[in-house]
Assembly symmetry: C2
Homo-oligomer: 370 residues x 2
């Protein structure tokens, strides 16, 4: 029996609502996972994530295997206890991080240098699985080959094919019964390759499917074409996770196509630069127009930051370099993102998702595609 | 009727327990005020202060008058609402901050350049009172003349005399009925000057008394002599606040002499450098001995950090530069300091304070004076 299952609850066109059951609880979908790269979401604690409304979070195999090392995490009883997060955790495999390190990739695996100390590190599909079994998340991801965009069709296809072969090796290596392993669909922005990758990855029988290699700077319409092609080949009873996607327009467009899960550093990264997510358009709190503003970041927002502080106070902290503002803005942006997914879920259940998405785009000055 | 009063509850030798009533609640004494220089304790929120056990906090007139400006704070309804802190607040007058800015000091007041933009700023005793009335803390402090140590007796005496004349002007200028004004005793480490300053400041009839110009690097025994001389001349029914003192040995030595209140950036500043306060000796969390330690910072500590995290996890955050550790270590160090004051208070009430103080010093490798 699979330790992680996705149960559909409602559909509205291609959009779906459901829930992902894991050994550590449930992620209602559509759902967003905050990113805790090094076993902490930047500037936040696990208690803050609960307060923001997070159900599930993501951490990074690549970073944790190097610092502090998977064995130390295991000595704590695993990642949940290490970071005091009781909910579900997904770890990525490291493929995406390695991709930026000019790795030497062979059929065996990837060899690269640590960002921490320059030492040589090797990561194979089997080792990525083994490390994640030691870390102990609810969901582990296969090691995949990420190809930069744009690349030639040959390069994209070669990466996709190797990802498929690695996926088989990963499945064969995976043993931990209380952990699910998700496959990853690759194929760049080529709909034929995406369809082929999705079809063949689905045939391997994973408990869920990541759609990788997107949100790397490609135009939204090209991403959406790739998503359509991939999702059409994925089984309807398994969860679909668009990796690295976190801008609100992009997520709602993906939900409209049948995607269920997302993760991204964007909400917290923007926060650390003073950029605030808001329904009628994001804004930069450093802007002098907020200097004497006695309203919260978002009127009516239920987050801790909006419940307690004015824009003027937060801008004061920001312009004088006070650390506390990094946390306060991160809380708002995460709450905003998580709440948007809740609203999207409700809209699917109430069969009014397309209007919800169009209204969201319009208020923020985006044009929704048909 | 005075808006701020101190009520004695118990004595043990010269040490005293009591409570300081203010319009925003009570500070049990001996008591420590965390320092929120710019209307935030670095890396923390007001909710964190409550969680740490803080009853009263301090903020800085000098910083707030320059950034964001007292009028903006007043537009929020005052400092309490600005920073969402419901408890009592004391603001210092700016005298100590100005002291480091090479001010031009005349009988009228101090002229100096802003640390923020280099602009010329003037602060007189009357203006310091006026700004604090606009900011709205429960306790305002008079503008004092801080003299560096060591200085000649003439220089120390001249500063002390001017502080006395400024104290009279401050009292005459103060009008806000829901705010107390505290005088400040000066006089360096000269016991005669300290006694004279305390006697004459007491005669002016303030609601409470700061003892300023100490904790600036002087040896502990010289500070203690100065404290003895000052406290002997202060009225027994008024609160005594040793400004800027926050190391645990120093505070307990001052409590033993009849001091009631303290403030210091030390606990949070140490935290931001990875230094952890602990009963058996402070330690640096960066030290490799903690790398695999599965125990909390302090076994048995009830703070949020110790309740949730191991030394190994916190050291991982510290060595990888994660912002969240600044908050987590600050929470522990503040909780430790505030808890120490609670334990000291209990020891006074139970008439075992001297043993408590000696035990504290001994466990941390200090020799308690007689």
């Amino acid at each position: 029996m699979n330790p992680v299952t996705w149960t559909p609850e409602a559909t509205d066109g291609a959009a779906r609502a459901g829930s992902l059951q894991t050994p550590h609880g449930t992620l209602p979908t559509p759902g967003f996972m905050p990113v805790g790269t090094r076993a902490t979401v930047r500037a936040l604690t696990s208690a803050d994530l609960v307060e923001c409304g997070a159900h599930m979070m993501l951490s990074n195999t690549y970073h944790l295997m190097l610092r502090p090392g998977a064995e130390l995490v295991a000595a704590h009883g695993g990642l949940h206890d290490f970071m005091a997060w009781k909910g579900p955790i997904l770890t990525d495999s490291g493929g995406y991080q390695i991709f930026s390190l000019e790795p030497k990739i062979t059929e065996e695996g990837a060899a690269f240098r640590s960002t921490y100390d320059g030492s040589h590190v090797a990561l194979s599909p089997e080792r990525a699985v083994a490390v994640q079994e030691v870390l102990g998340p609810d969901v582990a991801m296969v090691l995949d080959v990420c190809v930069g965009l744009p690349s030639s069709r040959e390069v994209v296809k070669a990466g996709m094919d190797r990802t498929l072969r690695w996926a088989e090796r990963s499945l064969a290596a995976h043993t931990r019964p209380d952990q699910a392993l998700f496959g990853i669909v690759q194929g760049g922005i080529d709909p034929e390759l995406r369809a082929e990758s999705a079809h063949k990855t689905a045939a391997l029988g994973f408990a869920g499917f990541g759609i990788g290699g997107l949100s790397v700077g490609e135009p939204a319409n090209e991403r959406n074409v790739a998503l359509d092609a991939a999702i059409a080949e994925l089984p309807p009873n398994k969860v679909r996770y668009v990796m690295g996607l976190g801008d609100t327009e992009g997520m709602l467009d993906a939900v409209a196509r049948g995607a269920d899960m997302f993760d991204c550093v964007l909400p917290t990264r923007l926060a650390r630069h003073g950029k605030v997510l808001a329904p009628d358009g994001d804004f930069n709190l450093k802007n002098a127009t907020h200097k004497q503003s006695l309203i919260p970041l978002q009127v009516g927002c239920a987050c801790f930051t909006c419940a307690n502080y004015t824009r003027a106070y937060l801008r004061h902290l920001l312009t004088t370099g006070e650390l506390s503002v990094m946390r306060l803005l991160s809380i708002h942006n995460l709450h905003y993102t998580l709440n948007l997914m809740e609203l999207a879920r409700l809209a699917v259940i109430e069969e009014r998702f397309d209007g919800f998405r169009r209204d969201h785009h319009q208020r923020r000055g985006f044009v929704a595609d048909e």
